[in-house]
């Protein structure tokens, strides 16, 4: 450990029990052994235990900022709690130099019946500040929390925002050498989040080291020089923040793709097959699409019964968590009003064929998207065939010099598209005249 190392984590692991019964049994046994001066043999897994953090190592120097990202339940918070000394590691060793400040749960220890002022002093003492120190910083704390005259009211009358602001304000004033931040920026309104973030940047500038756990990759990217990616308790990457984030997206989106289950609906007169979503010019079977690149959606359709009206193909794009992004329609002939809307194209469909839709310049935020496909008579509210969750694709940000977060969190949904329909004869499925969509 060199002289300006603030944190050193060497092969650290932590085990937890799966059931409450084991928690109690093992807890009593461990304490009894320690009491007799015996090791509780923490390095061995017993029945019903698992490694919540498994063999993690890193070092952090003075003034450095380390990001810690990973899916839920990957062990980030457990690791942070070990760094804060709340949990002891079961294997390995953690060394921390200097005063540690933790923004793990702000406002824990606030007593609802007591005033903000009283709670500031109590919370400060819990965080290791002396009365003189709190006296000195009191005005600054109140100003930062922006609770005004409510400082003399019991905190149970506070709004949840005020409560968190006051808790954050106390914690942030402890002048730590190492600041541990766990997802606290997710609370409060946008204004306060910005204020907190600026404050964390100030702390960084003052030379303190920071370990930052967050699901907000843009915050991690702005703050952290290096980032550790954890998954299932294991450290799967440690290096540049950009690379870590790319790997994180790749990991989580791969996981999402595996989870999608499609379902058919409609009268069954039309069936779809060979559905693909891929990057323009890329491999058909790779559903990971580079951010900002044109997207190709391709599928075969086939009418089982004779077609006797003009039909419409409907394509829906949703986010993985179910938010509608955009719907695309293309149909034979126009609606009676004769208008063609921006998300509509007029095409000619055969009895069967292949549709290839090219989405131009989509600025979809990197995440997983789901496709729904359906076909319906142009003027009737019944589906001849359809598949929900037909296909999932990921927008990823690999090797991209552009900073996708410049676009903010909002997905740009007004994209243009082109559609080609290849009509096929029964016997020769891959040939036919392409029918360009009018655009």
């Amino acid at each position: 450990m060199s002289s300006d190392t603030v944190v050193s984590v060497e092969n650290v692991s932590k085990k937890f029990s799966r059931t409450l019964r084991h928690v109690m049994m093992y807890g009593a046994a461990d304490i009894a052994r320690n009491m007799l001066g015996l090791s509780s043999r923490p390095q061995v897994l017993r029945n019903g235990e698992f490694w919540a953090v498994d063999d993690v190592s890193f070092e952090l120097g003075k003034g450095e900022t380390l990001g810690l990202i990973g899916p839920n339940g990957s062990g980030k918070s457990t690791l942070l709690k070990m760094l804060n000394g709340i949990y002891m590691p079961d294997r390995g060793r953690i060394r921390v130099k200097g005063r540690v400040g933790a923004l793990i749960e702000v406002g824990a220890g606030f007593h609802p019946m007591l005033t903000g002022r009283e709670n500031v002093y109590i919370n400060g003492a819990i965080l290791g500040m002396s009365k003189a120190e709190i006296d000195k910083k009191f005005d600054s704390i109140v100003e930062f929390a922006d609770v005004g005259e409510f400082i003399n009211a019991p905190v149970k009358h506070y709004s949840s925002g005020m409560f968190v602001r006051l808790g954050f304000a106390v914690a942030i004033h402890s002048e730590p050498d190492l600041l541990l931040v766990d997802e606290v920026l997710a609370v409060g309104d946008a204004n306060f989040q910005k204020k907190c973030f600026d404050r964390i940047l100030d702390i960084k500038k003052s030379g303190a080291s920071i370990i930052f756990v967050s699901h907000s990759v843009s915050a991690v990217e702005r703050l952290c020089n290096r980032t550790v990616l954890v998954k299932n308790g294991k450290m799967i990457f440690h290096g540049s923040t950009r690379e870590a984030i790319q790997k994180y997206f790749h990991e989580s989106s791969q996981n999402n793709l595996d989870k999608v289950q499609s379902q058919t609906f409609g009268t069954g007169e039309v069936i779809f097959s060979d559905i693909f979503a891929y990057q323009d010019g890329g491999n058909k079977h790779n559903a990971n699409i580079e951010f900002g690149q044109d997207i190709i959606i391709e599928f075969n359709y086939r009418f089982l019964k004779k077609r006797n009206q003009n039909n419409q193909i409907r394509l829906g794009i949703r986010t993985f968590d179910g938010r509608d992004v955009q719907k695309i329609f293309f149909h034979e002939g126009s609606f009676p009003d004769g208008l063609v809307y921006p998300n509509e194209k007029i095409v000619s469909l055969g009895d069967q064929g292949t549709c290839r839709i090219k989405i131009l310049n989509p600025r979809l935020f990197p995440q997983t998207y789901i496709l729904d496909i359906a076909i319906a008579p142009l003027d009737m509210d019944v589906h001849l065939g359809g598949i929900s969750n037909a296909k999932a694709f990921n927008i990823v940000c690999l090797n991209d010099e552009r900073r996708y977060f410049e676009y903010g969190n909002a997905t740009v949904t007004d994209f243009d598209f082109d559609v080609e329909v290849f009509k096929r004869l029964q016997s020769t499925p891959t040939t036919g005249e392409p029918s360009r969509g009018l655009s």
């Binding site: 000394g85 130099k97 220890g109 109590i122």
Partner: protein
Amino acid sequence: MATGNVVVYEPDRAIKIGFLAQWQEMVVELVKSRELIWRLFLRDLQAKYKQSLLGVAWAIINPLVTIGVFVYLNSAGVLRIGSTGVPYVVFAIVGLTIWNLFATGISAATNSIVGAGPLVTKINFPKVSLVFSSIGQSLVEFGIRLILTAIILFIYKVMPAWSVIFLPLSILPILFLTIGLGFILSLLAGVFRDVVNAISLITTFLMFLTPILYPSPKSGVAAKLLVWNPIAQLVVGPRDLVIFGKLSNPLGFLWSALFALIVFFVFWRLFYLAETKIAERI
């Protein structure tokens, strides 16, 4: 890591640093926690009386009701409480005041870790401060009850013995016992919530086994049981000093005091060894 205080977290660290270093750490931690203990104490005190209509009066109502019941049972002839040497009410209030220091202290300490909730699992701070600060509340109530006791002594025109000046010293053993048991019970309650319920039952039961509302039995099963009740002497001793001016069983008091000290130090060490594990298991 050339300068500054380096904290090391590793498995079985307490065992690695050795027995003496453990005690050193425990003492340093306790001394460092003074301010926090005081703050937590003030917090509980303020919160307690802000939320209650009768406030401090509860500290007085409680023993008065207990004594009232016994006075009634005695005068109604249901119970035959032997001669106490002084008016019964005086005898009972002195004993109950000392006993309640133990009883309220134990129940507050048992709740101290469970009651702190997210504090324990989310913030790293010396958890001994929770146990010590919880005892503070029973000390405050003890003070209030002492005033009540003084008033009752005045009403019954009983002059306390000169040895009353040793009262603060003589209650130290029962305080050590309370804190010592508080250490283990707060840990146990963290793992098994049953302890919280069990403890109020057990203290009530113990109160009747201990000669607080009746004089020490001289013969029979109760007298034999008394020898093995360490709390009994720790209550009887200070009461003797207040009322009679001499210890009725000095040797018993000393042994009990020694027992209390051992309990305190053994369970303090246990608490120190277990406190990091408790955050995971609470």
